[in-house]
């Protein structure tokens, strides 16, 4: 067992709307990532994936508020720290975050090397420009970006190149955890592949110690991450290795999600896509029972009455459903 890089215990955060209503977007999430491992987070839009990413950074600003729970990065608790302290000592060197349209963060009037200097000076004001340039040049070379990029402006680069540049800059301090929120979904397939290759390189070369990858593209998660976690309405509904989750999902929601996978391979045209009917519950007033009950075809009155606990099956596999493992498998088998 490797060293635990990120540990989250029962994290709860909420949004407060203009009308002072609370929206519980992340509601009791626990997870653990070991050194050298990556975790994928899947789920449909509005399930709390991106909010989880923001919450994990420990840097809260309105309308996002912290309620309870611990975030421990490499033995250091960062939840409950003041935002200024988090920004100075955690972001960048402990946790790095890449949002979906990261490439738009580049100021068009500045050269790329200025951003690198910015990032390093924020943590080490004494670093000289020459040292920074050498570090950046080496890092860019290893990650397959030409050195000339450093002297260019953002407008001279293509979309995929900009995205890779931003990833390289944000990981220049070798953070312990990288949180990537849909880093490739605004790009076309070829650039997407380059971004993915770069993130793999970052892991393999040890520039980042662990990674959380958030996306709704399941084939991508299957190829990039070791484990996959499925979220629904702010809670984790299932967790397991990538292979288990794609080929043997247990929770009815994960089953539905995995049914929407489309890949250009033989046999895909023969099975019909399964869409999950209905919409997710309103998180202002989350239902008391199982949150998926209204859309689940196996739901019973008991499901609506009580929230099922997460059942641990060992080896990191866990799911949140009242049905037993054997029962679920029987039901799925009888449907085929």
């Amino acid at each position: 067992m490797g060293k635990v890089m990120l540990e989250v215990n029962n994290l709860k955060t909420k949004y407060v709307t203009r009308f002072h209503e609370d929206v519980y977007a992340v509601d009791g999430v626990s997870l653990k990532i070991e050194e050298g491992k990556s975790l994928g987070v899947a789920g449909e839009s509005g399930c709390g994936k991106s909010t989880l990413a923001l919450s994990l950074m420990g840097y809260y600003f309105a309308p996002l508020h912290y309620i309870s729970g611990d975030i421990i990065v490499d033995g250091k608790t960062i939840s409950g720290m003041k935002p200024d302290v988090v920004r100075k000592s955690v972001l960048g060197n402990e946790i790095a975050y890449i949002p979906q349209a990261a490439m738009n963060a580049l100021n068009p009037t500045q050269k790329i090397i200025r951003f690198v200097e910015d990032v390093i000076h924020a943590h080490d004001p004494k670093a000289t420009k020459k040292d920074i340039y050498d570090l950046a040049r080496k890092r860019f070379e290893i990650l397959g970006l030409p050195e000339s990029v450093l002297q260019k402006h953002a407008v001279e680069l293509s979309g995929g190149m900009k995205q890779r540049t931003v990833i390289a800059i944000s990981t220049i301090l070798s953070p312990k955890v990288l949180i990537a929120d849909e880093p490739s979904s605004a790009l076309d397939v070829t650039s997407q592949k380059m971004v993915i290759k770069m993130m793999r390189d970052l892991m393999d070369k040890g520039f980042i110690k662990s990674m959380i990858f958030i996306t709704h593209e399941l084939p991508l998660l299957y190829n990039v991450t070791d484990d996959i976690m499925v979220m629904y309405a702010g809670q984790i509904v299932e967790r397991g290795t990538a292979k288990e989750m794609v080929f043997d999902p247990l929770h009815p929601y994960s089953k539905g999600l995995m049914g929407s996978i489309i890949v250009p391979e033989e046999g895909v045209r023969d099975h019909k896509l399964t869409a999950i009917p209905g919409t997710p519950p309103n998180l202002k007033h989350p239902p008391e029972g199982c949150r998926f009950a209204d859309r689940c075809k196996y739901a019973t009155p008991t499901c609506r009455g009580m929230l099922p606990d997460v059942k641990e099956l060992g080896n990191g596999r866990a799911y949140r459903c009242l049905m037993s493992e054997n029962k679920i498998r029987e039901v799925y088998k009888s449907e085929q």
Partner: protein, 273 residues
């Protein structure tokens, strides 16, 4: 997938269709002498990367921009869009849904008026409201929406998936011969994407509509289409039945597109970037 053996009439045909932007040194050939035959009730996909000319071609097909060179035939006759009135007549036969459902609506109009507009456009303005109401309910139930819940809402109150489904409800009311879908699923998450694709397939099967599906995701194209056209730098490099093109690609560009998409049953080779 289905009705493949039936003899089909050509619906939209193009010969040597070209679009050139600019002139002199700055000349850009966006679409370069492409030929195509789209048949009735066929699900056609046009696949290419960004910048390959897919959207330019779709705009020409819709008559939104002029054709520099070449001929487009609609239902066997040369297409005539020389005047505004003729264009409107042409648009009764061809309709489109676009990538961004959020900007496809007039934000000041309620949803029922969006749908009422479609009925009026069909020339059925004088129907009694009960009849119109019935039609709108039918269109909404076709896309699994409840019309009764939507009547007093504005488009921005819906989610992206619901908006895109409402777009399809419009198409269901208008019943054009051809539907041009320009990346209709790229702003929607994977789960709702399945719903949208199923509805497009339903349109083809139930109304025998020709669907031209423009996408950069070759996996989607493989799943839904009868015929696939692969586009690179304004030219079709490969075309044919989906099974043949995707499972046994000939052109190097097609091969590259396929290797760039993540796989599940086979190993995804990352070394070939």
């Amino acid at each position: 997938m289905s009705n493949e053996k039936k003899e089909r009439k050509p619906c939209l045909t193009g010969r040597g269709v070209t679009k050139v932007f600019g002139f002199g040194d700055k000349k850009t050939v966006a679409v370069d002498h492409v030929d195509f035959d789209f048949h009735e009730g066929e699900f056609v996909s046009i696949v290419g990367e960004s910048g390959s000319g897919k959207t330019t071609l779709s705009k020409m097909l819709l008559g939104l921009i002029s054709v520099t060179e070449g001929q487009i035939d609609f239902q066997g006759k040369p297409r005539d869009i020389s005047s505004g009135r003729k264009k409107k007549e042409y648009w009764k036969g061809i309709q489109a849904i676009f990538q961004d459902p959020f900007s496809s609506y007039n934000m000041f109009n309620r949803i029922d008026s969006v749908l009422l507009d479609c009925i009026n456009m069909r020339g059925e303005r004088n129907l009694p409201y009960e009849k119109k109401f019935e039609m709108m309910t039918e269109a909404c139930s076709f896309v699994n929406l409840k019309f009764a819940e939507l009547t007093n809402k504005y488009p921005f109150e819906l989610s992206g998936g619901q908006m895109q489904r409402l777009m399809i409800a419009r198409i269901f009311l208008l019943k054009p011969k051809i539907l041009l879908a320009d990346e209709p699923t790229s702003m929607i998450d994977a789960c709702s994407r399945a719903t949208i694709l199923d509805m497009l397939l339903k349109l083809r099967d139930e109304i025998n509509m020709t669907i031209i599906f423009i996408t950069h995701d070759i996996g989607l194209a493989y799943y839904v289409s009868d015929t696939v056209y692969i586009m690179e730098h304004g030219k079709f490099v490969e075309s044919g039945p989906a099974d043949k093109v995707i499972l046994h690609p000939q052109a190097p560009y097609t091969k590259r597109l396929i290797t760039d998409v993540p796989k599940i049953y086979e190993e995804w080779d990352l070394s070939t970037v």
